[in-house]
Amino acid sequence: MTPNYYIVLSALLFTIGAVGVLVRRNAIVLFMCVELMLNATNLALVTFARVHGNLDGQVMAFFVMVVAAAEVVVGLAIIVTIFRSRRSASVDEASLLKY
């Protein structure tokens, strides 16, 4: 098989995620973009596992999913708290700390 397509796709998804973090201002969307980056990585991991013929990559992908889930929990907790005290989920409005 040719892994290149998968890797390039993974890289593109990763880039979309990274760019999303930079251009979106809603914290939830921003966070979803980070999740997209993680999942792009998962694609790469699974592809490489296939290329190398061992299971390490797949195991890693599982771990990434779990970690991502834990991250979601923590992240949403933080974002919801912010939303409740500021009535907005815009990350740009949370900019009191600077200079």
Partner: protein
């Protein structure tokens, strides 16, 4: 040198795509930032009830969903073990028990803290 070519290509491709998506978005998309757009859930429906005046925020859905995800995702570790259960023997069993005990502790915490109560 030839090692750099894939990186440069990839970088170029990524940069191109990044620029493309930004430019397209700025040309195609309308620039309207309103409350609805900045709200927590972009599905067009106002969160009810409104979190105004220090009122309660409906975290139940969110909480339950989160709990579901956390506990559900742990299944991925149980599945591989189940597949090669016979080969891993006692060692696998002990490891899995400790894993489940860990989850159980957290479950107990959620339960005692009222995370499972709907009202």
């Amino acid at each position: 040198m030839n090692a750099a070519i894939p990186i440069l290509t990839l970088g170029g491709l990524a940069a191109f795509f990044a620029l493309l998506s930004i430019i397209t978005a700025s040309i195609v998309g309308p620039r309207r930032y309103n409350r609805a757009k900045l709200d927590a859930y972009e599905c067009g429906i106002e969160p009810t009830p409104q979190p105004i005046g220090g009122g309660k925020f409906p975290v139940k859905y969110y909480l339950t969903a989160m709990l579901f995800i956390v506990f559900d995702i742990e299944i991925v570790f149980l599945y591989p073990w189940a597949v090669s259960f016979d080969q891993l023997g006692m060692f696998g069993f002990i490891e899995m028990v400790s894993f489940i005990v860990t989850l159980l502790a957290v479950y107990a915490y959620v339960w005692r803290r009222g995370g499972l109560e709907w009202d």
